[in-house]
Point group: C2
Chain length 496, copies 2
């Protein structure tokens, strides 16, 4: 159990039951109400429970859920500092009309709140600090057992990633033959699912992992559905899909580091229609009181990311030069969550070189978008980072860390695409990051915004070097360049 | 004067005038008839001249042209061995009804005839030997004066190229400020062209260079129009365009190594319409008795290469993965005549690395197409190979030579695209050349045509190494691979 301080469940339980007047929860932490209630019948289906939380003239409604063993929980992520109260509603008297109060305190320094869209195509935490997504992919890492999951967490502790794409359901696919430790629904030995009930152990474990990620400053980009399945979770009837979504949102939405990805490769799930995907989005949108980020990841065919419930464009694509076009088209942030993975497996999607993956990070960045990492090196035990986590073998992570550090020193408004002949991103008149990609000009005439003086650096994204160019520059000027490929040039306004 | 033996003009003149019965021309050489005629008025416009050549029941009509100084010439490239006769036709009695005979002899060993399309998407010389186009680009090399032109020819003597893209008109563009030595039309000091006459010196010089190329085994891919012009040649009226085309075809079509490229970047010539381009194609098609290859090169927009007069698809494109699709679409050979150039100039089209250009050659090859070279390194005297010729500076030519040698040992039917997951070309059951591009699988399961046993090699296109894999292979089998990018795997049927 690695719950961060702000949300120790046992502590929160105590709050309500024993000494409510003393309760305090930090802003964007979790205030949890625990209530005993009926365990007969099917509480997952029979019982409705929610609470209305109130702060001055602001009210927030949050659904509760049955946690098993006659226990019900309502989780709440408060967004305002001060005194909150609540009243529960239920169709069963034991859970209805319960009231309480708690104080929301200044968050710990590492708690910046949930991530929001800012400046059209960028992100920021709710406290205003910029969030620059540098994601990785470990689809099924929470289904690998404690030993490997702890190794994954240890790897993430020093890796450059602040977002992880992960499936809620277990995964059945090449290199992924093992059974999960937990199943989301009660399941008989012969493989029959009871889709009218949930397995609290499954979700409790998942929550632990989300909390683990939160303590590492990592956003959990939760994939709600995916096609790589042998247990039946990709082919549930609509009522089971919808109940699952509501249960997930009720349990997880109070975690500030949760994002909702409707699917991995939604278009490969042949039993779902576009109407299903639209409905899933709307259920999540309506059920989640905090409006966590919502996206959907494609196989061959894009979902229509212009639909209003899509907060950002999550794509599988190797066409990094489309970044700018998609930002312009959708007026939303664009994340290349899957642009192929560093590795050496036979499959084309899993064997690009570290150099190529680093190149794609830079192309996406210079195009005004964001790019995600994944790693697929052959392993005698079939432990490939992309799906199971474990240890990283590749050469791209240090270069991705280098890029992350660079971006963290760029203008907090975000890196807008500013030029296309050679891709450049930044903020006009203040900061330009040109990426020359496979081109190797030995000289180039830059034409930057007037009324500013700039200092310049040559950046080698692979060697991770930043080499200042002597002098300062203004307006239109010609620079000698290294004449080798995959170099970048940075201009920063000199403060005078 | 470097005319090859088979076509010394002075010798051929002697044939007709002095001792016709002894005349002999090798097959696909040039038999030239020289006739004195009127020099008054404007012979370029006033006089029509042609000859009908006859071999048994085959007749070929070829136009003559005014060569200046009261001299008219009719050039003929005979395609059959044996005794030929001819009769001239003209609207002037001095040139009409002249007859003669000559013998066509077995060609020298280096003379394989003109290049034709064969096997849908490939080429062969008319004698049946395969022709594998490995082109380069020196747009304006014939306008640089003898010293540089001789250097270009010396470079070509040891370079891997057997085709060169070259403009008939001089070029005005960045790095191309110099005046040409010759102008195609009489031109006053103040820059007025007499578009009703031609400058015989210009064409005589051009013919010398075409003959120089022929002696080096290089096809001259002649660009008839282009937009980079300050002399007025890109904006001539239709009657001047058409007269120019007919004059060029009359003078040059008997050179077996001539190809017709209607334009470089036709769509950037804003004074021409699509109807103009169609007409140009038809004029060339109808005037050229030998049906030399015809193409047109695009800027941003493709010409419709499915039109019947287009013999092969000549494209400017960096999208090498389209090769297979275009071959299938057009059922014609596809040549990426411009996929950007090795170099270091500021312009994106002229500064890809040698590694990237070599990669593109391999991608095109594995896609069942052909790729062309160009080189643009900054030079203190602005002598960039791509336009002026001179010396090669780059690192791609030896690798292109390596590829050419490899292809020359491949099946003579040509390299058809055979696989797309990793691109492969060859002939099914006999020869497979897989190119893994940026992918770096450490192992891969190949599935080759049954009923054959193959030997295998790992090929490194950059290091120019061919490393045999021990053993032989059949059907479906898994090979360990180097696990690094830009490698190729070759399978050749073992002859048993």
């Amino acid at each position: 159990m690695l719950y961060p301080h702000s949300m120790t469940v046992r502590h929160l339980v105590a709050c309500l039951v024993l000494v409510p007047a003393l309760c305090a929860t930090e802003r964007w932490g979790i205030h949890e109400i625990v209530l005993p209630g009926p365990s007969t019948g099917n509480p997952f289906v029979d019982i409705r429970l929610s609470a209305r939380f109130q702060f001055r003239n602001r009210t927030v409604d949050a659904d509760g859920f049955y946690a098993g063993s006659g226990t019900y929980r309502i989780r709440f992520m408060p967004g305002e500092l001060g005194q909150w109260t609540y009243t529960t509603s239920s169709n069963t008297p034991a859970l209805d009309g319960k009231t309480g109060a708690f104080t929301v305190t200044t968050p710990a320094s590492a708690n910046h709140g949930p991530v929001r869209v800012r400046n059209v195509s960028h992100f920021a935490y709710e406290d205003g600090s910029p969030y620059i997504p540098i994601g990785t992919t470990c689809y099924a890492w929470v289904h690998q057992g404690d030993k490997l999951e702890q190794q994954t967490l240890a790897t993430l502790r020093t890796a450059p990633f602040n977002k992880i794409r992960m499936c809620i359901f277990p995964k059945s696919y090449t290199y992924n033959a093992n059974e999960p430790v937990y199943y989301p629904f009660p399941r008989t030995a012969s493989g029959d699912n009871d889709l009218t009930r949930f397995n609290p152990d499954f979700f409790h474990h998942l929550e632990q992992r989300i909390a683990d990620l939160q303590s590492l400053g990592i956003e959990a980009d939760l994939i709600l559905f995916h096609p790589y399945d042998r247990w039946g979770y990709s082919k549930m009837p609509p009522e089971a899909d919808d109940r699952y979504l509501r249960y997930v949102v009720a349990r997880l939405s109070a975690f500030r580091n949760v994002w909702w990805s409707m699917a991995n490769e939604y278009d490969l799930m042949k039993s779902k229609t576009m109407a299903d995907w639209d409905r899933f989005f709307r259920i999540v949108q309506e059920s989640d009181p905090y409006h966590h980020l919502r996206s959907i990841h494609n196989g061959p065919n894009f979902y229509d990311h212009s639909k209003p419930w899509v907060t950002h464009v999550s794509v599988q694509s190797s066409d990094l030069e489309k970044a700018r076009e998609w930002v312009q088209q959708y007026h939303k942030p664009v994340i290349y969550d899957e642009c192929k993975y560093e590795g050496n497996i036979p499959q084309r999607w899993g064997n690009i070189s570290a150099r190529e993956l680093v190149r794609r990070f830079w192309l996406g960045t210079a195009g005004g978008a964001y790019v995600g990492h994944g790693e697929t090196y052959l392993d005698p035990d079939n432990i490939l980072w992309w799906s199971k986590g474990g240890a990283l073998q590749g050469q791209s992570p240090p270069r991705i860390a280098f890029l992350r550090k660079l971006l963290e020193s760029a203008p907090p408004e975000g890196m807008d695409n500013l030029a296309t002949y050679y891709l450049a991103a930044g903020q006009p008149g203040r900061y330009y990051l040109f990426y020359m990609d496979l081109n190797q000009p030995a000289e180039y005439t830059f034409d930057l915004a007037k009324n500013a003086t700039y200092k310049a650096d040559i950046i080698d994204p692979w060697e991770m070097t930043i080499t200042p160019i002597p002098g300062t520059f203004e307006g239109k000027f010609t620079l000698k360049l290294p004449g080798k490929p995959y170099q970048a040039v940075r201009f920063q306004k000199v403060n005078q």
